[in-house]
Amino acid sequence: MTFELTVNDKTHIVDAEAETPLLYVLRGELGLNGPKYGCGLGQCGACTVQLGGKAVYSCLTPLITVGEREVRTVEGLGGVDSMNPLQQAFADEQAAQCGYCIAGMIMRAQALLDENPHPTEAEIRSHMQPNLCRCGTHMRILRAIRRVAAVPAGAAA
């Protein structure tokens, strides 16, 4: 089946089975690297993308359910020489170890900031709860998000 899909402001025609998870369409058909396979089960957030502005697990989103909603991956936020403020904050905080979780972290955090530009520390922590990081980069990830949200460091956890 062919589908029309808007990803990072570009429209693509993709040929794939209706139930193919969006993750495999983005990686396999469109050659994007941002969304990662971590569990395929909605438990880790490595595959997180924005769909219609909301953070979703692309591993659990069948292609047919995307409809006209716009998909955004980390590639759509900015490139190496054109990072958006959140990517730049991750760079400034050196908020990555292996980095495998980081694209998903950025996409989930971006969805929060789009909706609520100045979340509290508690709101940030609870919003990021679905995403796992095994390297233990959490403190830096929180700092990077705080930078953009302009939450003072050390505000109560």
Binding site: L41, C44, V80, G136
Partner: protein
């Protein structure tokens, strides 16, 4: 990542570059990579430092072209620990040139020196030290060449940091010009002058990691992201966990699934190859609808890790001392344990393999590409020089996870598909089910203090399997016992001291009287196991630091003072004092039933980085849930190359160790592992990370590099248990210290 895919392929076909690099053969040698994996390359120049001992030729490490651009090689791999950047800083500093003028090649069996495994916190010691000294040698030779060219003495010349050598009279010679008159195919000398820490331009700076930008923007950063022309996707079809076999996989049905190109079958090894990744997964699911039988050894059963104590073992004396009869006033006795842990990489293991013109090239995130190219060659039946393994980053592995197995399997599959690149990725449940776990372990301690509040007797025992089951031959891969003809399983052997295995850090850095320390090495493995970050040090430090707190309490001495009274190593004392000062130890709140503080210390392997941790927690008595309010760490890693990189590793180690200690436990029933996803094997999430973590780096300018990547694992879990004991008055000995266990213990304590 070494270079874009196209460049890698060009190099592969080019050949010239490969020949240009001096390579030394690998024979029995000393413990590169912390003694993990094979024996490592042979020591040929014991007078040199780091990996120059095994590879003394300068052009094996550094070449400088006529334009003054440098190409530098290291046998160590970027695992997410930031080593690529740290090593680049080291070599740039000693060459005294900008890092941007250096092309850096890492862990590629076709191009770089064999430095054994990237493991054991050895990369700075092995490769950092080699690159520092090789850089110093090359800089010395460049200055010498410039002196000759200008006809002035060497002492009138110095490097400028921008790829030039300048004379006092203002004349300059570029590195390119100097290099033209020079052969770097010479052996290093031991006394090339190093740059002094006061004049560092690149080292000891928070230089930004070179690999991070691509990781933040969806660049091609991982082996998972490789897309070679014509590449196909593979999945393996397996039972639920190691030691099981599917009885009747539905191969016929899988063959009919859309996109399926090939079914690879060899003995019990079964793999699906499809055009697209999702097609491979769907076909795998269809094939996997089958019963399974247990084929492996019995799992540990209800005894958990204590099962190890009833298996046959070999006793290894770690340390014994006789300080004459000492009076004992108070004695502490206890037995501690940890369960089996998963490495828990966020990305399941992946490899790309390509058989082309009779040569197999594999892109792998293994920590041991050098062992791997020999072991995989044996597995697939090629000569080792026909197998090239190129390290390519992936999700963090923290030890020997599924990477090596997935790579070997990708190699087997690619052998059936000449000319076609194959990408294999394991599924989440396969990673949990089939990777080697971190070892379950048990310790037993009986220690006493005398009237002087000094430790009078210290009797210590530890039970463990080998933490080093990395493949050094084909038999080390799980698939080697599935294929026909197969290879017998590799015989497990413990890593000897001074690195240590299950007994790593069982020998105290503290000064105790009358020590008797034994390692009961258990060859039989109820669960498939191998190296996990810090190996046996985690439980040994956990036990030792618990006993110290208990004995301090018995003697009525503050835990910090008690430790200091038993420690003569000045750097260890400094680290303990720095962490506790920053924490405010002397003014800390005292355990009140809910809140409490704990500290712990270790020098990893007694020869790596020093690390002390102090933390404050709060227990919700109603549920047993623990909140960690704040953590202070101090670390001495010798001369820091990149202080922020060290901080990043320590912060990560603290969080990972808290996750191990509070949450983690690979469960099993009688036939299989039952932890197969993040629901059945939970790890720490954002709502449980500490309120704050502050890492203080004790700078030891000019002192040797000490690897810091594993230094926090033992002290953090230990400090947590000590804080729980302080808060609630109960000593918990068996990890994980889950809320249920904490709650039950508090209930029992009344």
């Amino acid at each position: 990542m070494n270079a874009p895919v196209l460049d890698r392929r060009k190099v592969l076909s080019g050949g010239a570059l490969v020949v240009a690099f001096a390579m030394t053969s690998r024979l029995l040698g000393d413990a590169v990579g912390g003694g993990e994996g094979g024996a490592g390359p042979k020591v040929v120049r014991p007078d040199l430092e780091g990996s120059l001992k095994t590879d003394p030729w300068l052009d094996a490490w550094i070449r400088i072209d006529a334009e003054g651009q440098a190409t530098v090689c290291s046998g160590k791999a970027e695992l997410g620990q930031g080593i690529r950047t740290a090593l680049l800083q080291v070599v740039a500093e000693e060459l005294d040139m900008p890092p941007a003028a250096i092309t850096f090649i890492t862990a590629d069996t076709g191009r770089t020196p064999d430095e054994g495994l990237t493991a054991g916190s050895h990369s700075m010691q092995d490769s950092g030290t080699a690159l520092a000294n090789a850089g110093a040698n090359v800089r010395m030779l460049l200055i010498g060449a410039a002196a000759k060219r200008l006809g002035i003495p060497v002492r009138e010349l110095d490097t400028t940091g921008d790829g030039h050598i300048a004379a006092r009279d203002g004349r300059r010679v570029s590195y390119g010009e100097a290099a033209r008159a020079l052969s770097l195919h010479v052996e290093a000398v031991a006394d090339a002058p190093r740059r002094s820490p006061q004049s560092y331009r690149t080292m000891n700076r928070d230089f930004r990691r070179v690999d991070i930008p691509a990781k933040l923007t969806g660049g091609e950063a991982y082996v998972q992201d490789m897309r070679l022309p014509g590449m196909v996707h593979a999945r393996v079809v397996r039972g639920p966990s190691y030691g099981t076999r599917l009885t009747a996989p539905d191969i016929a049905a899988a063959r009919k699934m859309p996109g399926v190109l090939r079914i690879i079958q060899n003995g019990q090894f079964l793999a699906i190859v499809a055009r697209k990744e999702w097609q491979a997964i769907q076909a795998m699911r269809v094939a996997q609808t089958s019963d399974y039988v247990k084929t492996g050894p019995d799992l540990p059963g209800e005894q958990g890790p204590r099962r190890l104590q009833s298996l046959a073992s070999r006793e290894i004396i770690v340390e014994q001392s006789d300080d004459g009869p000492k009076a004992s006033t108070r004695t502490f006795k206890g037995s501690f344990s940890r369960p089996w842990y998963s490495h828990g990489s966020i990305g399941p293991s992946c490899a790309v393999a390509h058989l082309h013109g009779g040569e197999l090239t594999i892109w792998s995130h293994s920590q041991g590409v050098f062992d791997m190219h020999r072991a995989t060659a044996e597995l697939v039946g090629l000569a080792p020089d026909k197998v090239r393994v190129i390290h390519t980053p992936s999700a963090g592995c923290y030890g020997h996870n599924g990477a090596d197995d997935a790579t070997a399997e990708a190699g087997l599959i690619a052998m059936q598909l000449p000319g076609v690149p194959v990408r294999l990725q394991w599924m989440r449940e396969q990673e949990f089910g089939w990777e080697p776990c971190g070892c379950g372990m048990v310790t037993q301690i009986e220690a006493s203090i005398g009237p002087d509040n000094k430790i009078a007797h210290w009797k210590y025992e530890v039970w463990s399997n080998s933490h080093n089951n990395r493949a050094v031959g084909a038999g080390g891969y799980a698939v080697a016992q599935e294929i026909v003809p197969g290879f017998p399983m590799q015989v497990p052997a413990p890593i000897p001291m001074p690195e240590g295995d299950g007994d790593r850090n069982a020998n105290p850095l503290y000064v105790f009287n009358n020590m008797d320390i034994r390692y009961h090495f258990v060859p039989e493995m109820p669960m498939r196991v191998s190296a996990l970050r810090s190996l046996g040090a985690h439980l040994n430090i956990f036990t030792m630091e618990a006993a110290l707190d208990e004995l301090a309490k018995a003697g009525g001495v503050d835990p910090l003072a008690f430790r200091l009274a038993h420690m003569q190593d000045e750097r260890a004392r400094a680290v303990m004092l720095r962490a506790t000062d920053a924490f405010g130890w002397s003014k800390r709140l005292r355990g009140d039933g809910r809140r409490g503080c704990g500290m712990a210390f270790a020098r990893y392997k007694n020869r790596g980085a020093y690390c002390a941790i102090a933390l404050e927690i709060e227990i919700e008595r109603e549920t047993g849930a623990i909140t960690i309010h704040r953590v202070n760490a101090a670390v001495d890693a010798g001369q820091p190359a990149n202080p922020n990189g060290i901080r990043n590793q320590i912060e990560g180690g603290i969080i990972q160790s808290l996750s191990w200690a509070i949450h983690e436990d690979m469960t099993y029933d009688t036939s299989k592992r039952t932890g197969f996803d993040w629901g059945t094997y939970p790890i720490l999430r954002f709502d449980q990370v500490p309120g704050s973590i502050d890492v203080d780096i004790v700078e030891s300018a000019g002192l040797p590099f000490l690897g810091a990547g594993e230094a926090a694992q033992g002290p953090t879990s230990a400090a947590l248990a000590n804080a729980i004991a302080d808060a609630a008055g109960v000593r918990l000995c068996d990890m994980p210290l889950t809320p249920a266990k904490v709650k039950a213990a508090i209930g029992n304590a009344g």
